[in-house]
C-alpha cells in the first residue's frame, strides 16, 4: 500500500493539503461541499446565459437572434443544466457542508466515495455541453426528452447525452447513499431521529427518493439507447412498443425528481424562519410527517404530467386526485412556517428575506400546480407558458431562493466572515423584483394560449414577452452582485461570531466560525434543541 495514499489512523489534526491536489484528492466534507457549491454556481451561470439567449430571442415576435434549431438546443440544455447541474449539486453541496456539522459527525460516512460522487460531475457536464459543438447539434428535444423526438428524430449527439445522464445518475446515487449512511449511522450519541434538524430530515428523505428514482432514469435512457442503436422497439408502436411508455417511465423518475429539488429547500427554510422569528418551529413532528407524506405521494402522481397524452378515464381521475392530495402536506408546511412567525420577534436579515419570499412565491407556484392538477383544465394549460410559469415559480423563487437564503445564512459560519448586508439586500430586492417580472406575465401568456418551447409567437403575445425578457435580464445580471458578495465575504469581512445569528440553534453553531477542518474529532454531547417543541408550543 503506502505509496499512493497515506493512511491516517485517527482523525488527527491534519489540516488541508495545499495546491490543486487539495481539491482533487480531498476526502473532507467541507472541501467537497465547497466544490459542489462552486460547481453549481458555475452551472447556474451557464444555464442562465442559455435562459437569457431564450429570452433575448423572445423579446420580440419573429426570428431575430438565433435559428430555431439552436433555440431548441437552448431550451433543452437550459433545463438539463439547471436541474442536474445547478439545483441538485447545490443541495448536495449544502448536505456535505451541513449534515456532518448538524449531527455531530467528523465527516461523511464514506469520504472517498464522496469525492468520487463530486468529481464525476464536471466530466459528465463537459460531455453534455460538448454535444452543442457536435455535428447535428446538441440535444434539441426538451429537457424531458420524449421519445420519439429523442430517439427516431434525435441528432447523433444524443448518444453522448445518454451517457452523460448515466454518469450524473451514478454520481447522484453514490451521493445519496453517502447521505443516508451518514445520517443513519453517524449521529452524535443521544441524537435520535426525531431530534435531528429539519434540514437533515428533509435530506434523509430526499436521499431515499434519489436512490429510488435515479436508477429508473438510467433505465429509461438505456431503453432509448437500445431503440436508437440496437434495433429494439420499446418506444415504437410499429414493433408493439409505445411512445407513451417513455413518458410513464420518465415521469416515474421525473416527479420524485422535482421533490428532490424542493424538499431540501423546505429543510433550509425550516431552519431559517425559526432563527429570525426567534421562536421554535411551530410543529416539528408534523413537518417531518408532512415531508415523508410528500415523498410517498410523489411515487403515485407521475401521470399528471401526461393528462393530454390520452389515458383511460380512471387513470386521469386517479392521478388528478392523488396530485391534489399533495396540497395537504404542503399546506401543513406553509401553515407551519406562518405559525412559526406568528407573534415572533422577527428581524429581516437577508436569509430571512429570501425565506419569506420563498414561502410566498413558492405558494403561488403551488397554487398554479393545483390548477394544473385538474385534468380537464390541464387540457387547456398543457404545454403552454402557464406550465413554464408554474414550474419556474417553484424552482426559481422556490429552490433557488432557498439556496440563496442558505448561502447567506451559513456563509458566515463557513468563511468566518460576515457578508455585506446592504449589498445582500440589494441582491434580494433585485432578484425578487426580477423573478416576478419574468415569470408572472408567463401565467397570462399561457392562459392566452402561447405554447412553450417556440422561438416565435403570434403578435398578441408581444407585450408580455417583452416584459418577461426585461425581468429576466434584471434577474440574471443581479446575480453578479451575489457572486461579488460571496467572493468578498470569503476574502475578508467583519469577523463572524460562533453563533452568527442571535436566534441560531443547532450543533453547527456550537463550532467556531470558520469551523475546524474536521468538525468533531470526538462525538459531541447532544442536547435537544427541538425536544420540547413537539407539542408545537
Amino acid at each position: 500500500m503506502g505509496s499512493l495514499e497515506q493512511s491516517v489512523h485517527s482523525t488527527g489534526h491534519h489540516g488541508p493539503a495545499t495546491g490543486i491536489t487539495r481539491w482533487l484528492y480531498t476526502t473532507n466534507h467541507k472541501d467537497i461541499g465547497t466544490l459542489y457549491l462552486f460547481f453549481s454556481l458555475t452551472m447556474f451561470f451557464i444555464g442562465g446565459c442559455m435562459a437569457l439567449t431564450i429570452r433575448a430571442e423572445l423579446f420580440q415576435p419573429g426570428l431575430q437572434l438565433v435559428r430555431p434549431e439552436f433555440f431548441n438546443q437552448m431550451t433543452t440544455s437550459h433545463g438539463l443544466i439547471m436541474v442536474f447541474g445547478a439545483v441538485m449539486p447545490a443541495f448536495v453541496g449544502l448536505a456535505n457542508w451541513l449534515i456532518p456539522m448538524m449531527i455531530g459527525a467528523p465527516d461523511m460516512a464514506l469520504p472517498r466515495m464522496n469525492n468520487w460522487s463530486f468529481w464525476i460531475l464536471p466530466f459528465a457536464f463537459t460531455m453534455m455541453l460538448s454535444t452543442l459543438l457536435m455535428e447535428g447539434g446538441g440535444p434539441n428535444f426538451g429537457w424531458t426528452f420524449y421519445a420519439p423526438l429523442s430517439t427516431t428524430y434525435a441528432p447523433p449527439s444524443v448518444t453522448f447525452f445518454i451517457f452523460a445522464v448515466h454518469m450524473m445518475g451514478i454520481s447522484s446515487i453514490m451521493g445519496a447513499i453517502n447521505v443516508i449512511a451518514t445520517i443513519l449511522n453517524m449521529r452524535a450519541p443521544g441524537m435520535k431521529l426525531m431530534d435531528m434538524p429539519l434540514f437533515v430530515w428533509t435530506w434523509l428523505i430526499t436521499a431515499f427518493l434519489l436512490i429510488a428514482v435515479m436508477p429508473v432514469l438510467a433505465g429509461v435512457v438505456t431503453m432509448m439507447l437500445m431503440d436508437i442503436h440496437f434495433g429494439t422497439s420499446f418506444f415504437d408502436a410499429a414493433g408493439g412498443g409505445d411512445p407513451v411508455l417513455f413518458q410513464h417511465v420518465f415521469w416515474f423518475f421525473g416527479h420524485p425528481e422535482v421533490y428532490i429539488m424542493i424538499l431540501p429547500a423546505f429543510g433550509v427554510v425550516s431552519e431559517i424562519i425559526p432563527t429570525f422569528a426567534r421562536k421554535r418551529l411551530f410543529g416539528y413532528t408534523s413537518m417531518v410527517y408532512a415531508t415523508a407524506s410528500i415523498a410517498i405521494l410523489s411515487f403515485i402522481v407521475w401521470a399528471h404530467h401526461m393528462f393530454a397524452v390520452g389515458m383511460p378515464l380512471a387513470g386521469e381521475l386517479f392521478f388528478m386526485f392523488t396530485t391534489m392530495l399533495i396540497a395537504v402536506p404542503t399546506g401543513v408546511k406553509v401553515f407551519n412556517w406562518v405559525a412559526t412567525m406568528y407573534r415572533g420577534s422577527m428581524t429581516f436579515e437577508t436569509p430571512m428575506l429570501f425565506a419569506l419570499a420563498f414561502v410566498v412565491l413558492f405558494t403561488i407556484g403551488g397554487f398554479s400546480g393545483l390548477m394544473l392538477a385538474i385534468a380537464p383544465a390541464d387540457f387547456q394549460y398543457h404545454d403552454t407558458y402557464f406550465v413554464v410559469a408554474h414550474f419556474h415559480y417553484v424552482l426559481v423563487p422556490g429552490s433557488i431562493f432557498a439556496l440563496m437564503a442558505a448561502t447567506y445564512f451559513w456563509l458566515p459560519k463557513w468563511t468566518g466572515h460576515m457578508y455585506n448586508e446592504s449589498m445582500a439586500k440589494l441582491h434580494f430586492w433585485l432578484s425578487f423584483i426580477g423573478v416576478n417580472i419574468t415569470f408572472f406575465p408567463m401565467h397570462f401568456l399561457g392562459l392566452a394560449g402561447m405554447p412553450r418551447r417556440i422561438p416565435d409567437y403570434a403578435l398578441q403575445f408581444a407585450d408580455f414577452n417583452m416584459v418577461a425578457t426585461f425581468g429576466a435580464f434584471l434577474f440574471g445580471f443581479s446575480q453578479l452582485v451575489f457572486v461579488y458578495n460571496i467572493i468578498s465575504c470569503i476574502r475578508s469581512g467583519r469577523q463572524a461570531t460562533d453563533r452568527v445569528w442571535e436566534g441560531s440553534h443547532g450543533l453547527e453553531w456550537t463550532l467556531p466560525s470558520p469551523p475546524p477542518y474536521h468538525s468533531f474529532t470526538e462525538p459531541p454531547v447532544f442536547t435537544h434543541p427541538y425536544k420540547e417543541n413537539d407539542r408545537g408550543v
Binding site: E5, M127, A164, M167, A181, A212, P215, D242
Partner: protein, 294 residues
C-alpha cells in the same frame, strides 16, 4: 462507543482517477456506438473504451485492495462496519429500482399498451393505425412486420430456463452454507462451498449464452423482433451482466478466503457479496415467472 475516535481516511487519488476512467468509458462507448451506427470505423471509440475499462479495472482493484488493507489493519470500528452495511443495502435497493424500470415496462406493454394497439378499451383508437393487428402475448406478429419481424419461436421455459432456475436457487443455498462454515471458521469447507457456488453461477451463464445463440439462430428471437424481444433481452441481458459481476465478486471472495482473510465474526466483504448474490437470485425468480413462464 462515545470515547472511540473517528476514523477519517486521508486524501485519496483513487476517486479522481476513477472519474477520469469513467469519462473515458462513457465517451469511448458513445463514440464507438455512434461510429457503428453510421457504419464508420469504430477505432478511436473502441480504443478509448478499452483504455477506460482497463484503467477502471486497475483502479477498482487498487481502491478495494486499499480498503481491504485498512480493514485488516483493524482501522475500522463497528461504526465503519455499519456504514458499509448501509451503503451496500442501499446500493442493492438502487439495483432493485433499476430492474423495476424494465419490469414496469414489461407489465405496461403486456397488460395495457399492446391490448390498446389491438383495439381494446378507450384507447382502442390506436388500432386505426394498424388495422387487423391482433394483440397477443408473447407478441409474435408485430403491427409492422417489415420494420420489426416478430419472433419465429419462443424459448421453452421448462427446458433451459428451468435448469437455470434450479442452478441459481441452489447457488443461493450453497453460498449460505459457505457463510455458515465461515462463521464456524472451517475454511476448507468454505472454499468448497464457494467453489460450488461459482461453478453453479458459471454454468448458469453458459446456459444463458447457449439460450441466446438458440434464440438468435434458430428462433428468430432477436432485439429486433418487436417488443417481446426487446423486453426479453433487456431483462435477461442486464440480469446476465449482474450474474457475471456477482460471479466475479464471488471469485474475489474465494481468493481472499484462500489467502486467509475474514474472521468468523468479522467478514462484511463476504456478506456483501452474498447479499448481492441473493439479490441476483431473486431477480431471476421474477424473470422466470414473468418473462418465461407466464
Amino acid at each position: 462507543m462515545s470515547t472511540q475516535a473517528y476514523y477519517v481516511p486521508a486524501q485519496s487519488r483513487w476517486p479522481i482517477m476513477a472519474s477520469v476512467s469513467l469519462f473515458l468509458i462513457a465517451f469511448g462507448a458513445g463514440t464507438l456506438i455512434n461510429a457503428l451506427s453510421a457504419d464508420a470505423g469504430g477505432g478511436l471509440g473502441l480504443t478509448l473504451l478499452l483504455a477506460g475499462a482497463l484503467c477502471m479495472g486497475l483502479i477498482l482493484t487498487g481502491w478495494f485492495g486499499h480498503v481491504i488493507d485498512e480493514s485488516r489493519q483493524g482501522l475500522y470500528s463497528d461504526q465503519m462496519d455499519r456504514s458499509f452495511r448501509w451503503g451496500m443495502s442501499w446500493f442493492i435497493f438502487s439495483e432493485v429500482m433499476f430492474f423495476s424500470a424494465f419490469f414496469g415496462a414489461l407489465f405496461y406493454v403486456r397488460n395495457l399498451s399492446v391490448p390498446w394497439l389491438g383495439g381494446e378499451g378507450e384507447k382502442g383508437v390506436a388500432n386505426m393505425l394498424w388495422q387487423g393487428f391482433e394483440a397477443t402475448w408473447p407478441l409474435m406478429k408485430t403491427p409492422d412486420m417489415t420494420a420489426y419481424p416478430g419472433p419465429g419461436g419462443l424459448i421453452d421455459p421448462l427446458h433451459l430456463p428451468l435448469v437455470n432456475t434450479l442452478l441459481l436457487l441452489s447457488s443461493s443455498v450453497t453460498v449460505t452454507f459457505a457463510h455458515y462454515r465461515l462463521k464456524q471458521d472451517r475454511r476448507p469447507q468454505v472454499i468448497l462451498w464457494l467453489l460450488l457456488t461459482i461453478a453453479l453461477g458459471s454454468a448458469f451463464l453458459v446456459f444463458q449464452a447457449v439460450e441466446y445463440i438458440e434464440a438468435y439462430h434458430e428462433l428468430g428471437l432477436t432485439l429486433h423482433a418487436g417488443i417481446y424481444g426487446a423486453t426479453f433481452f433487456i431483462l435477461t441481458g442486464f440480469h446476465g451482466m449482474h450474474v457475471t459481476l456477482g460471479t466475479l465478486m464471488l471469485i474475489i471472495i474465494l481468493l481472499r478466503v484462500i489467502r486467509g482473510h475474514f474472521e468468523p465474526d468479522h467478514h462484511f466483504g463476504f456478506e456483501a457479496v452474498s447479499w448481492y448474490w441473493h439479490f441476483v437470485d431473486v431477480v431471476w425468480v421474477g424473470l422466470f415467472l414473468f418473462v418465461y413462464l407466464l
